[in-house]
């Protein structure tokens, strides 16, 4: 079990981490008819927007309160008011979701207070649009913390205790580390048992790359406000990733039973989910699922030849790190280096001696002698210098397409991930040459009869 260390450097070199407000806005992008709004200078939004556009190759709706120096010092109430009214007028979303930034947190804007006044002042104009706010200073935590805080804020704002439960409704609170494809897989798994999943947030309905009928200035799909409110009436809620513990606890507080899965990548992890779904539905696992499990077991048998003994360096946010490291470990690989972005209770359970909260320079130094670098696309420079393959996982992946459809959960997802990892090793197999196994000087000397000079090999005449 791992010891968790903090980097001692003053200067972060090649950041692994992204900021909290971006994680919060990423969560908001999984809600339908929503406009995420960063309360900060326009660059805060612009950088995040470009990053997500390059990752998903999709239009990303995201706005800014466009704070300048003067408005920052005087307080951002006017800017929030104008932004909210402008967004209402131009996009008319069901939800305007605000995340603070380092700038406005340093100033100490009381956004909750502002919103109270703005709602009162413009009740009529804003009718039909909800506003939610989450505090996410850039200088605290990381991307997945922002996501977790946003989901918690959504539940706090919209979920009230329900009188009745809807039979078969299963809430899902996915972590930021799951892709739209992962969410689709979870949905299908739940539906297989005749249950009705409600995902909050639901990126599989907004950033899955579909073609809409018309141009929309807000998000293209995702969980609706009704879905969020309906969480209270779930029979059961499944939270995925340690980061979702806080959100799950909020739902438990209103009487919804929750189960937290620290990962859904791997055989036993998926088995645990399937067992829960069998229990909740009272139905046996369908034949299709049994076949999928068999395929995964076979993939593990075939894959272990290639993953066994391999030294892997992983740089990822805590929950993704835990999922990937656990799979590598289960397949006989060695997690030789692990670097992450922020603290989390799950880090001590990562199967490696040491987890460092650090950057990609730390990872690069620790990855010397490793066979694979497993991190987001920014690892490309390090992998090139180390001359080892890079397997892209997490956000951003700006130099590849299809990141939204990278699947790594459930039986099928784990199966495919094992294949891809194994194939990466196979593609980089070292072809041996005649000089790969040189004898040490001592052995050569011994073979020469201990003589320092070369023995003359006698020539046998034919």
């Amino acid at each position: 079990m791992a010891i968790v260390l903090d980097s001692k450097k003053a200067c972060a070199v090649n950041p692994l981490k992204m900021s909290q407000p971006l994680g919060a806005c990423y969560a908001f992008l999984g809600l339908s008819s929503t406009m995420p709004l960063m309360h900060g200078s326009q660059g805060c939004t612009s950088f995040g927007l470009v990053l997500l556009v390059r990752h998903f190759k999709e239009a990303i709706p995201m706005q800014t309160t466009a704070m300048n120096e003067v408005s920052t010092i005087l307080g951002g109430m006017d800017n929030i008011e104008q932004a909210v009214l402008n967004i209402k007028k131009r996009a008319n979303p069901a939800l305007i979701a605000i995340a603070s930034t380092g700038l406005t947190e340093t100033k100490g804007d009381d956004v909750d207070g502002y919103l109270h006044l703005i709602r009162a002042k413009h009740a009529e104009t804003l009718a039909g649009s909800e506003i939610v706010y989450v505090s996410t200073p850039d200088f605290v935590g990381a991307f997945q913390d922002g996501w977790a805080a946003a989901v918690k804020a959504l539940i706090a704002a919209f979920v009230t205790p329900a009188d009745t439960r809807v039979a078969g409704r299963i809430g899902v609170l996915p972590g930021a580390h799951l892709t739209p494809a992962d969410l689709e897989e979870v949905r299908e798994l739940i539906e297989t048992f005749g249950l009705h999943p409600v995902l909050v947030p639901d990126l599989s309905r907004s950033l899955d790359g579909h073609i809409p009928e018309d141009f929309t200035p807000t998000t293209l799909g995702g969980a609706s406000l009704g879905d969020i409110r309906g969480l209270a009436a779930c029979e059961h809620v499944i939270a995925i990733g340690e980061q979702m513990r806080g959100a799950a606890e909020r739902l438990e507080a209103v009487g919804v039973p929750c189960t937290l899965f620290d990962r859904l990548t791997g055989l036993t992890a998926t088995d645990a989910l399937v067992a829960l779904l069998m229990r909740l539905s009272g139905q046996p696992a369908p034949a299709r699922l049994k076949r999928q499990r068999g395929q995964l077991v076979d993939a593990m048998l075939d894959g272990h030849f290639h993953l066994g003994g391999k030294r892997v360096a992983i740089g990822a946010e805590p929950d993704l790190l835990f999922a990937l490291a656990s799979l590598i470990h289960e397949m006989g690989g060695e997690v030789a280096a692990a670097v992450t972005t922020t603290h989390s209770p799950v880090l001590t359970r990562v199967p490696t001696p040491e987890v460092l909260v650090g950057d990609l320079e730390d990872l690069e130094l620790r990855a010397i002698g490793c066979d694979l670098l497993l991190t987001h696309a920014h690892g490309r420079q390090a992998a090139a210098r180390l001359n080892i393959p890079l397997f892209r996982a997490g956000i951003p992946q700006f130099d590849r397409i299809g990141a939204a459809h990278q699947l790594s959960v459930g039986y099928r997802g784990t199966r495919d991930l094992i294949f891809q990892l194994a194939n990466t090793f196979i593609a980089h197999l070292h072809a041996h040459g005649p000089d790969d196994w040189p004898l040490p000087a001592e052995a050569r000397a011994a073979a020469q009869g201990g003589a320092a000079t070369e023995n003359v090999i006698p020539i046998i005449p034919v």
Binding site: P15, N86, L103
Partner: protein, 468 residues
């Protein structure tokens, strides 16, 4: 506001060489060239972003961002400014300040960070970028940089353009000011020639500089410094010894060109590498300025000879596409690139330009567009994504050429689109670039995929009788 930043902003607003600025009255000039941003309806980067874009192409420098993780962590290694050598500019350095730094101040962390970088990477210089949070808490980066430079014997340059002072184009200029204040003129070149020039405001995106450099090399013109594409610290530092300068038309570094003229007597002209005639004019202007400053006069004739050969070669190669592209309609939405210079090349290839953006064009640019496209030229000042979508959907254009922002508007309308913005991967400069642009348009337009993606789904087709 930090008085120094405030003074800088006033000074770049009063740019006498900017025709935009000169056309304004006293009051409007005082307000500066930045439009007031509208909260909830704004797009684009901040001043810090602009400063970083302007300076980061200097490839051997360590670019250190002093601020919370968002400023560098969310944005690093995201541009295609190419280098022919050092890779250090692609390394992301940030102080990644935390809560305690916000409370106690981040200067110590900044100083230590500079030391770590110099010890580990030994760059010729460290550029330190100010950001909103560290500006707000009052970190004095000028003082820290000065102390660090003295202590470590390496130039440490403060770039004071925190995001909240304005938009990206202001940041470009503030970044350039840092070069004027701390870099240019600090190193003497070993040798100079009568053919030494500076190229100012060119970022070598996708390696475009290398489409132009062979022309200069062939004429014997030496690029003493390109500011800042494929740049080196030392080149920029000794650029004050150039004989003439070209300012690339985007105006992002007009202050550098003009102040170098004032301080060092280096005459400059405004030119463009985009479009065939523009490229030729640029070569002519370079030759003219160099000859005026004492270069042998045969340069003029040699330049004309080169232009004749290269223009002919380019037009011939473009004409090949004419039969295929004749009558196809193009919607041209550009930012910094002067649109009329591209329009001419597109027309030569037989394309019909049905609309072009003039958001950043000057009055003269608009006149020129009318001259080329006719009086009824469809000039678009600011088009909303919804309007673009509609225009494409109704097939009033066959292809859109634009920046990355509107990419998905076109793609979701299932219309061909070509990236001509900063994030692009293809180079479109010089004679070669225009030929490549026409080739790319042809390749994109005639991709068989477009017809397939527009085929209705089986469930959207009304059933036509039973299939037996």
């Amino acid at each position: 506001m930090d008085a120094r930043v405030s003074a800088k902003i006033q000074s770049v607003f009063e740019e006498p060489a900017c025709e935009h600025n000169q056309n304004k009255d006293e009051k409007a000039r005082k307000k500066g060239c930045t439009k007031q941003l509208s909260p909830g309806a704004a797009a684009g980067g901040c001043a810090f972003d602009g400063a970083k874009i302007a300076l980061q192409p200097i490839a051997d420098v360590a670019h250190l961002v002093h601020g919370p993780i968002a400023c560098e962590g969310n944005s690093w290694d995201n541009r295609n400014s190419s280098t022919s050598g050092p890779q250090l500019y692609r390394t992301g350095f940030t102080t990644d300040i935390g809560e305690l730094d916000v409370i106690y101040g981040g200067e110590k962390r900044l100083f230590k960070s500079i030391r770590e970088i110099i010890e580990k990477y030994d760059p010729p210089a460290v550029f330190v970028y100010q950001t909103c949070v560290t500006a707000l808490i009052g970190d004095d980066i000028e003082a820290v940089c000065k102390r660090a430079a003295e202590k470590f014997g390496t130039p440490v340059v403060p770039v004071n353009a925190p995001g909240f002072v304005g938009p990206k184009n202001l940041g470009n200029k503030l970044g350039a000011e840092a070069l004027l204040d701390y870099v240019i003129g600090t190193v003497e070149p070993e040798v100079t020639t009568p053919y030494d020039i500076n190229i100012i405001g060119e970022y070598n995106l996708a390696g475009e500089l290398w489409q132009v450099r062979p022309l200069l090399d062939a004429l014997g013109i030496r690029v003493l410094a390109c500011i800042s594409g494929d740049g080196r610290y030392k080149e920029v530092a000794q650029s004050h010894r150039a004989r003439a300068a070209m300012m690339v038309c985007s105006k992002s570094m007009i202050n550098v060109a003009r102040k170098m003229e004032d301080r060092y007597g280096i005459p400059f002209f405004e030119g463009s590498f985009y479009g065939i005639e523009d490229m030729s004019d640029t070569l002519r202007n370079l030759a003219r300025l160099l000859v005026e400053r004492g270069a042998p006069a045969d340069l003029l004739a040699r330049t004309e000879a080169l232009i004749a050969v290269e223009e002919k070669r380019a037009w011939e190669r473009i004409a090949v596409y004419r039969p295929r592209l004749e009558g196809k309609k193009v919607l041209l939405i550009t930012g910094g690139v002067k649109s009329w210079s591209v329009v001419a090349a597109l027309q030569e290839a037989g394309l019909e330009v049905v609309g072009t953006s003039v958001k950043k064009s000057t009055k003269e640019d608009k006149e020129k567009i009318k001259e080329i496209m006719g009086e009824d030229a469809h000039m678009i000042d600011d088009m909303t994504p919804r309007e673009m979508f509609k225009m494409l959907r109704e097939a009033r254009a066959d292809i859109m050429l634009s920046g990355g922002r509107s990419q998905f508007v076109a793609l979701k309308a299932k219309m061909p689109w070509l990236d001509i913005n900063q994030e692009r991967h293809y180079a479109y400069a010089g004679y070669e670039g225009m030929v490549d642009l026409v080739r790319e348009i042809s390749k994109t337009l005639f991709n068989p995929m477009w017809e397939l993606v527009r085929v209705p789904a089986p469930w959207d087709v009304p059933a036509v009788g039973e299939v037996c």
